[in-house]
Subunit: 285 residues, 2 copies
């Protein structure tokens, strides 16, 4: 049986943390927020995204059944170190980090007895950063990944899965941290690398925006990228991302060579393969 949990503290009220707070409050939780930026704290309170907020989470932690650390991956360990002594018995802590393997063991080692850390990655976001762009609508129908640890109680995993579903996520998948980081390097980090390289390879001989169609618009939307967060994500998943880039390059080489050799048959074969995969993909979603 899952114990009903009432009080949540969200640390970091950016796009993701702000959207968590917004959604959880609508779902009837008491939501406290913390952010190092005073202006963000003021906005969160003014807009009713939280029941209360402050620049430090300390007063809220001892009251909280669930604590969401919605900070950059590198900040999670430090923040947990600061608040761990304040966690109440039975508290669940969760994160939103886009990479997992690099800190999983360290985080687990920090957790006091009778508390539980459930690693989570909400696969939704926006190109913009900050509370002004928080919007729980982005969670609707999106994917959510949990990377359970051996220490996790089933009830804690269930509680975070329930939270995800309440916020509107559709698929809640469970992977090991290693599996998570591998697939994320392909479905998320590689597309960002391609979008950035595409925009940066523009020789800008012409006024590009006047000549684009939907394809260029779609492929470059995510080239508008938070450089601090994404350089951290890329470097924190180095080997997987390099492999994904190399696999991509092999497939691009097939196309390139087919063009060089005027090999229409191979081109068509590659296009049919991609179309088949992308069409199946549409059906599944």
């Amino acid at each position: 049986m899952t114990v009903k949990r009432h009080i949540v503290t969200v640390i970091g009220l950016g796009v993701i943390g702000g959207s968590y707070a917004m959604s959880l409050k609508k779902n009837g939780y008491t939501v406290y927020g913390a952010d190092c930026d005073e202006e963000t704290v003021r906005k969160a309170k003014e807009r009713g995204i939280v029941d209360d907020a402050a620049t430090s989470a300390d007063p809220f932690i001892p009251l909280s059944d669930i604590v969401v650390i919605a900070l950059y991956p590198k900040q999670v360990e430090g923040e947990l170190g600061r608040i761990r002594r304040l966690l109440k018995e039975g508290a669940i802590v969760t994160d939103v980090a886009g990479i997992k393997s690099h800190f999983t063991e360290k985080i687990i080692a920090l957790m006091p007895e009778n508390t539980d850390f459930v690693f989570a990655h909400p696969m939704a976001g926006r190109e913009k950063k900050g509370i002004d762009y928080a919007d729980d609508a982005v969670f609707k129908g999106a994917n959510f990944i949990i990377t359970p640890s051996e220490k996790n109680k089933q009830s804690s995993i269930d509680a975070i899965e329930k939270l995800a579903r309440e916020m509107g996520f559709r698929n809640v998948m469970k992977l090991t941290p290693a599996q998570h980081d591998k697939i994320i390097s392909f479905v998320s980090q590689l597309p960002h690398a391609l979008a950035v390289a595409l925009v940066n390879s523009d020789d800008r001989q012409f006024d590009t925006p006047r000549f684009v169609g939907d394809s260029y618009r779609d492929l470059t939307r995510i080239a508008n990228i938070n450089e601090s967060l994404w350089s951290e994500l890329f470097l924190g998943n180095k080997q997987n991302l390099l492999s994904s880039i190399k696999e991509f390059e092999k497939c691009l080489d097939v196309i390139k060579e087919a063009i060089e050799n005027e090999d229409k048959e191979t081109l068509e074969k590659e296009f049919v393969k991609a179309t088949k995969r992308r069409t199946e993909f549409n059906k599944e979603l």
Copy 2:
């Protein structure tokens, strides 16, 4: 002074031809359609997309002020050869092909005296093919390129520009065929090559659709690709597309090497550059 032109024949009632017909009819033109597929002809008439249609354009050509050849690039020359003797004095012929240099001279040479061919590329479309997916809404706010030839009368260019604006296109740009093919290799063909390579590089160790976010969805939408048309477009623009792919690869290499060297500074620099360009781009559109 542009002479008002009333009667248009659209040859090829696929996604683009069908959308042209639909839009021009709404704009008060008398629209005739031709398509080699009987079922398409029947649907076009039944749905009122055209005033009349047949499997041959022959009966309509002598009546038409404007003829739109909405066929694949390779078919344009042959179709024009067939209908050229039927064109009325002063008729304007236009196309919708996504590559221009390869046939411009041959097409111009085919045109009878007192007729004019205005090369055009509507930068809009859909992944699906056929009249069922024709929808003039895709033209709204889209870009339209005309590649004027030395033989063109200004009044003919103006007439096609007017047609484009009536159909909802926003920017109507003029380029030489060489310029057109160069920029198209970057803004349209390269993104399609990347989307196909991305989807095909999936090792499918996991059930990909369950782990994707918006980024992968956006970057792969156009991997659903018409293989006959796009292999023709790629091979018909070989040198430009190969250059665009090579420039892209250089920029991807910068990112790859930065990851290998754990060079956060370079990564951030590339991300900031891409963000700046993509943001300017949003403003302009």
